[in-house]
């Protein structure tokens, strides 16, 4: 069970973005999706979410092929957090989180954001430590708070899989650490595209390394984050140390000569 990717390929305008990506990720695990810019990380997340249709291969969640699910059903199981999302109108934090209830509403009018939806939304805000922000305007929040609220919105979808596209982008160090800690605590199966290899090493159970749409390595952080693989994919020299407390790999880059 969990997430199974089987030979996923995706092409836009004749350019192959994903080539035969296969992986198996257990329920409740946190997976880091790594790779240089343009490696296909965001596309892979969109394909897993069922927003873009794969040319070949399937992604399945708990044994169900995601592509065969109606969009609403997929949205009840999978939440996707985009990079740098911003609303086009003024919204309060609670209104943003309530958006996550949309896939659970009855088809036409639905309820007038009923009590149940509000309860789920408040629980989700509490879960990310943002319970006090409910009435604030979205645009007045810091970057870290906005990302937390986005995660609360995703939680309100009550998904069994959460996909996050560079959730730590533009956050300061402490906000990055607390955000990723939060994702781990949620206990939901998560796949997140990350740029920072050290964050991935510290917070992920599993790493998928993409390069040019190809899955070049997959496994525990210590197996994937080696000087050989990092050198081949990113073209940089590095040493791997062991974190004195966590025991996970710490990547130290050599300056470019």
């Amino acid at each position: 069970m969990g997430v199974d990717l089987d030979g996923l390929s995706f092409t836009i305008d004749g350019t192959r973005i994903l080539r035969q990506v296969s992986a198996s990720l257990p329920t409740g695990s946190v997976t880091g999706l790594l790779g240089p810019n343009g490696a296909g990380k965001s596309t892979l997340l969109r394909v897993i979410a069922g927003i873009d249709k794969a040319d070949a291969g399937t992604a399945s969640l708990d044994g169900i092929t995601i592509g065969s699910l109606p969009r609403r059903d997929a949205a009840r199981r999978i939440a996707l957090l985009e990079q740098n999302a911003a609303p086009s109108v003024e919204l309060t934090v609670l209104e943003v989180v309530l958006l996550g209830r949309i896939p659970h509403r009855t088809k036409l009018m639905g309820s007038f954001s009923g009590e149940e939806d509000r309860a789920v939304a408040f629980d989700a805000l509490e879960a990310v430590g943002a319970g006090t922000l409910a009435d604030r305007s979205w645009h007045t929040l810091s970057g870290g708070q906005q990302q937390r609220v986005q995660i609360a919105r995703a939680m309100a979808q009550q998904p069994s899989l959460m996909l996050l596209d560079e959730p730590t982008n533009h956050l300061d160090v402490s906000a990055q650490l607390s955000l990723l800690g939060q994702v781990r605590e949620l206990g939901v199966t998560a796949i997140m595209a990350l740029h920072d290899l050290n964050l991935a090493a510290a917070y992920c159970d599993h790493i998928l390394m993409l390069d040019g749409g190809l899955l070049v390595a997959s496994g525990a952080p210590a197996e994937v984050l080696t000087p050989e693989i990092i050198g081949a994919v990113y073209g940089v020299d590095c040493f791997i140390l062991k974190h004195p407390r966590g025991g996970h790999p710490v990547i130290v880059y050599s300056a470019a000569s």
Partner: protein
Amino acid sequence: MTRARYLAWLVAATSALILVCGVAVTIGPAAVSLAQVAGSIAAHIGLATEPVPILIDSIVWQLRLPRVLTAALVGAGLALSGAVMQSVTRNPLADPYLLGLSSGASVGAVCVVILGIGFILPAAAFLGALLALVATLSIAKAGGTITPVRAVLAGLAIAQLAGALTSFIIFWAAKGDSYREILNWLLGSVAGATWSSVAIAATAVAAVGTGILLSATRLDAFAFGDTSAASLGIHVTRTRWALLGAVALLTGAMVAVSGSIGFVGLILPHLVRGVSGPGHRRLLPLVAVFGGLFLVIADTLARTAFEPRELPVGIITAFIGVPVFILLIKRKKSHLWA
């Protein structure tokens, strides 16, 4: 805002609309009392009342009431159109007038009027609005992504072209007072409204209005853009075109009875969102009522401010709408315009 407070707003605004419509019918060169307005309406819908003088009755029933009701319905339709367009294009500047739909609808309408096949007027106006919408969005998209400013520039080009076409067609077929006719189509006017105008506008507002109200949740889902809407279970492309098609239909019907009236669809959603919040189930009913209220007041000003001369109502909506819009631009933070 609590539900009770929202409902209080809705009831108050609807009552105000009914009252303002009644008062608007009393205003004009011939003095008519509110009681006579009520009496005339009651007599025509079959309620036995004291008879109203025949002259007063025909002023109320044949002239002023159809005009006031048309203004109310057109205001509601344009405000709804603007609200939907702003949401599905994520463009705070979207409006049937600024994006060229109204001008496109005018071309379609003028064509069939000139050809003497006026009975297909709403259909022709719808087709014109739809073509203009597709043209505007295609031009805006030609250079990559559609930003609000690109869409408005493309809409400006289409509106200018459609305006020139409308004027050309009227001149070419000139009979009688073509200047006044051109002005009425380009600036918008409900001066010639009849009961059939009311019927066209009412059918469109009721049918399309119901459809978009049933799509309120889907409209909400567009707040964070296409990817986010898709991840919330919305079929983005299908939903967007269905809703834009509905807007073209509504705008077409409004233009068929009133020409292209600007700024109602642009400013009303911004003002009403301040009261209702951004959720569409609350925004849409309230914006329709306030749109109607706004246009009835504007049209009453248009026909009385410079008596005995009468302005096309679009001049009034621009005089009121532009300063309000400038205030909105100054107040809105830059993040909404990116």
